[in-house]
Subunit: 466 residues, 2 copies
C-alpha cells in the first residue's frame, strides 16, 4: 500500500473531522483517479502523486477546509468533472484535491425569472436532463462534454458550437456562491438583468480557472427553446469560399445556432470511425449550419436564404436535414471528429481570431505546416473565428518541431488580433505562452489580482496566469 508521504497526519485528522472519515481519501489506488483531466497525455504536466482527496458536501465544509489549508499554507486544487483540456486540475505539487462531486443538488428552478440555481457539482448533462423533464426552459450553451460540472463551466468560461447565437458561458452566468482561499464565503451577482453597484467581481471569477476561489453554487439564465431545428450542410472547393459564406450569412442578419467548419478529410475520418457515410461528395471543405427557429416556416425560409448566399459564393453541393434522425447522424459525425483521430492527435488547439480573419488564419496554417513538413487540419466554430486545428504525432512521437511550430501558430493568431485560447483556457499547459499575448503591464495586474484573492498562493498555483 502506498504511504502518503508529505501531508501532515494532523491535517488529515482535521480534514476527517470536517467532512467525516469516508470522505478523505489517502489510498494511492483511489487518489490516482483524481490526478488528471482530459488534457492530451503528451502535453499534460506530470501529476504529483502525494495528494489527498477531500470530498466536502456543504459550503460550510468547503469554508472550513480552506481556512485550515490557508492556515497551514497547504496547496489546494479544486476538481470538477475532470473534463478540462489545459491541465488546470492537475496537481503538480503535493496537494489537497478538493473534489466537488458531492455538490449534486439542483436547488431551484425559477421559471418566472428564468434562472436555475445549482450546486457546483451538477453536470451539464444532469442539468439538461432535469430541464427536459420540466419542458419549459432550456440552457443554450453546449460545450462538448456533458460530464463537465457547473463549477468548471464557470471558472473555465466554457464555449462550444452554439456561441454564434448564444455566446459563451459568461453571457449566461448570473451569480455564484464562492469560497475564498481564506475560507470566507461570498455571494456574487443575483437574478438581475442590470446591476451597477461596485466593481463586478463575478466577472473576474468567470474564467479564473479555479485560482481565485471555489465556486460552490451557480445561477444560470435559462431561455425558452426554439422548437424547430434543422441542419444544412454545404460544401465548397476552398476555405476562402466557406469563410465568405459564413460572414455573408451573418451580415444578412441570419443568426444560426452554429456554423461549423470541417476540412473534408476530418469529416470522412470521423464518418469512417463511426461506420457512417459523410453525405456530401463534391468539394474539399464543408460548412454545417445548425438552425433553430420558432416555426417550421421560419426554418425553411432561413435555410433557403443561407443556401442562396452559399450558391452565390460558389457552393458545389448542399443538403438539408430536417428529420431529427438525420440531424443527429450528421451532428454525431461532427462531434466525433476528435475521438476518431484522438490516438494520432498530439495537440488539438483552440486558437481564436476575429471571424473575418479566418482565411488569413487558414492560409497561415498552410504555410506553417508546409515549412515544418507537418500536417495540420482544421475543424470548428468558424462563425466565432474559433477553430480546433490539430497537430499530429509523427510515428507515435512528438515531432521535434512541435514547440517551435506551436509558438509560430500562436504568434500568427495574435498578429491577426486573436487569442491563443478561445475555449480551453490557459491552465498549466499554456502558461509559458501567455507573454506572447500580454505585455508585462497586464501580466503584473493579473498577478496582483491573484495576490489579492489568494495572498498565500495556496489555490491552484502556477495556473491560468504567468
Amino acid at each position: 500500500m502506498y504511504e502518503y508521504r508529505n501531508m501532515d497526519g494532523m491535517l488529515i485528522k482535521e480534514l476527517k473531522a470536517i467532512v467525516g472519515e469516508d470522505y478523505v481519501i489517502t489510498e494511492h489506488d483511489n487518489v490516482v483517479s483524481y490526478l488528471y483531466d482530459e488534457t492530451e497525455p503528451r502535453l499534460r504536466p506530470a501529476a504529483n502523486e502525494d495528494c489527498v482527496v477531500v470530498k466536502p458536501r456543504t459550503t460550510e465544509e468547503v469554508s472550513k477546509i480552506m481556512a485550515l489549508a490557508d492556515k497551514n499554507k497547504q496547496t489546494v486544487v479544486v476538481r470538477g468533472g475532470g473534463t478540462g483540456l489545459c491541465g488546470a486540475a492537475i496537481p503538480t505539487e503535493p496537494s489537497l484535491i478538493l473534489s466537488m462531486e458531492r455538490f449534486k443538488e439542483i436547488i431551484d428552478l425559477d421559471d418566472k425569472n428564468f434562472i436555475i440555481t445549482l450546486e457546483a457539482g451538477v453536470t451539464l448533462g444532469e442539468m439538461n436532463e432535469f430541464l427536459k423533464t420540466k419542458d419549459v426552459l432550456y440552457f443554450p450553451c453546449h460545450p462538448g462534454d456533458e460530464s463537465a460540472q457547473m463549477g468548471g463551466l464557470v471558472v473555465e468560461n466554457a464555449g462550444g458550437a452554439r456561441a454564434v447565437k448564444h455566446g459563451v458561458m459568461r453571457n449566461h452566468i448570473k451569480g455564484v456562491e464562492l469560497v475564498l482561499p481564506n475560507g470566507k464565503v461570498m455571494n456574487l451577482g443575483g437574478k438581475l438583468q442590470k446591476n451597477n453597484a461596485g466593481y463586478d467581481l463575478l466577472q473576474l471569477i468567470i474564467g479564473s480557472e479555479g485560482t481565485l476561489g471555489i465556486v460552490t453554487k451557480v445561477m444560470l439564465k435559462l431561455y425558452p427553446e426554439s422548437k424547430f431545428t434543422g441542419t444544412l450542410l454545404v460544401s465548397f472547393d476552398s476555405y476562402d469560399q466557406a469563410t465568405e459564406a459564413a460572414t455573408k450569412t451573418l451580415q444578412s442578419g441570419i443568426i444560426p445556432l452554429s456554423i461549423e467548419y470541417l476540412d473534408r478529410q476530418i469529416a470522412l475520418r470521423s464518418a469512417e470511425h463511426l461506420g457512417e457515410k459523410w453525405p456530401l461528395q463534391k468539394g474539399n471543405v464543408d460548412l454545417m449550419f445548425i438552425l433553430s427557429e420558432d416555426s417550421e416556416d421560419a426554418l425553411f425560409d432561413v435555410g433557403g436564404m443561407i443556401e442562396e448566399i452559399c450558391e452565390v459564393v460558389g457552393a458545389v453541393e448542399s443538403l438539408i436535414a430536417d428529420s431529427s434522425k438525420d440531424q443527429a447522424r450528421i451532428l454525431n459525425i461532427r462531434s466525433n471528429t476528435y475521438t476518431a483521430s484522438k490516438s494520432s492527435i498530439l495537440d488539438s488547439m483552440d486558437i481564436t481570431v476575429p471571424p473575418a480573419q479566418m482565411p488569413a488564419l487558414m492560409h497561415g496554417f498552410s504555410s506553417i505546416a508546409e515549412k515544418y513538413h507537418a500536417s495540420i487540419d482544421t475543424v470548428g466554430h468558424i462563425g466565432d473565428g474559433n477553430v480546433h486545428n490539430n497537430i499530429y504525432l509523427v510515428d507515435g512521437e512528438i515531432p521535434p518541431y512541435y514547440e517551435e511550430m506551436k509558438e509560430e501558430l500562436y504568434k500568427l493568431a495574435i498578429q491577426l488580433g486573436g487569442s491563443i485560447t478561445g475555449e480551453h483556457g490557459i491552465g498549466k499547459i499554456r502558461r509559458k505562452n501567455l507573454p506572447l499575448q500580454f505585455d508585462e503591464i497586464q501580466i503584473n495586474l493579473m498577478r496582483g489580482v491573484k495576490e489579492l484573492f489568494d495572498p498565500n498562493n495556496i489555490l491552484n498555483p502556477r495556473t491560468a496566469i504567468y
Copy 2:
C-alpha cells in the same frame, strides 16, 4: 479674475507643454462648466472649484498627463459627456479635470467582424448618425442620453430600455484602450467572440466609473438591424397584472426590444408637458411593448400574441402603433416622463430586482410611501426588473424623511434579491449606501482592486466603491 489657488504653477506649465497652451483651462468662468454632471442638484456633492481642465487629443498625451499627475500625487477626474447621474464626474477635491472632448475620431467600421472602433469622446448620438449613413449595421443599446460619450458608456456600463432584447453595454463592449493611473497604456479584449487567456481585466474596467483607468478607445459589437418596429400599449387596473403580463410574455419565448411600465399619472403628466394626449383612458397603469422584427408579418404575429397574453391577464384597453409617426409620439411621451417632472423630483432612483419580484417591489413602494406620507411613483424597464421610482420634493424642499426612506427603499430592493442601482451607478452619491448591498469581504476586495490599479489613489478617489 479667479486666481487658481491650489495647483502648482509648475504642474500647469508641464501640462501646457504636453497638450499646448490652448488646452489647459485655468480661468474660473470656463472651469465651472466642467464641474457638474446631470446628477439631481439637491443630491449631488458640492464641487471643489480649485480645478484645472486639461483637454488632451491623443493617447500619448493622456499617458504623459497621468504619469505627471501620478508623480505629483495630483487628483485626476475624467470627464466624458457629463451625462452621469451619480456624481462620478464631480471633483470634490482640487483636481485636474481630464476632458475627453477632443477624442472624436471614428477610427474604423469593420463590417465583416461587425465591430466599430471609436475614440472615447465620440457620443452615442454621433456614432448612431454615422451608422445611419452607412446603413449596414446598428448598435442596439440605447441609454437615455445621446450626448453620453463612449468612455462614459463603458465605465458606467450603461443600460437603457432595450436591455430586454439586447442586454446592457457589457454585452457589446469587445475591447478598450486604457491608460492606467501611472500612465501606462493597455489594450484589453479585441474583435473576438471567444477569449479565455488569463483573467478578463476588460470586464473589471466595465462599470468601474472612471476609477481604474482612462478609456481612450472603445470597440463595440454591431448587429444587423431588424427593419420592422411597432409599439403596443396595453393598460391594466393594477401593477400586479402588468407584471404578470410582462413575465408571461417573456415566458412564451417572445423577446420584445423593450417592455416599459408607466404609472398612469406619470404618462399623463408627460403628455400634458408636451401638449400631447396619452392615447389610453381605461385602467391605472400601462405597459409599452416595443417590438422589432425581421418582417411585417412577424411584427403583427408577435403583437397579436402579446395582446392575447395581456387579455388573459386582464388588460382593459390596448392599442398598436405601427406608423413611425405614432410610434415616435408615444416614445416621446415615455422619454419625457423625467423632464416633465424634473423640477419637482428630488431623486429618480434606479433600483433593480429579479423581474418576477416587481409586484413585491411595488407593494413595498406603496407601504413605504404610506409610512412616510410621501409620494412615490414609478416608470421604467419592467422587463428588466429595473424601474425608476421618483421621490418628490415637498414644497420645493428635501423632505426630512428622505434619507431614512431612501435607505428603506434600498433595503427593500436588497431583501428582494436586488441592487440599489441597476443603471446609474454608485458614483459619489451612493457610496455610503454600498455596505447595504455588500459585506466587508466584498468591499475589501473592491478596495484591493482599486489599490492594485491606482496605488496612489489619484484617479477619481471616493467614487464607485466604499
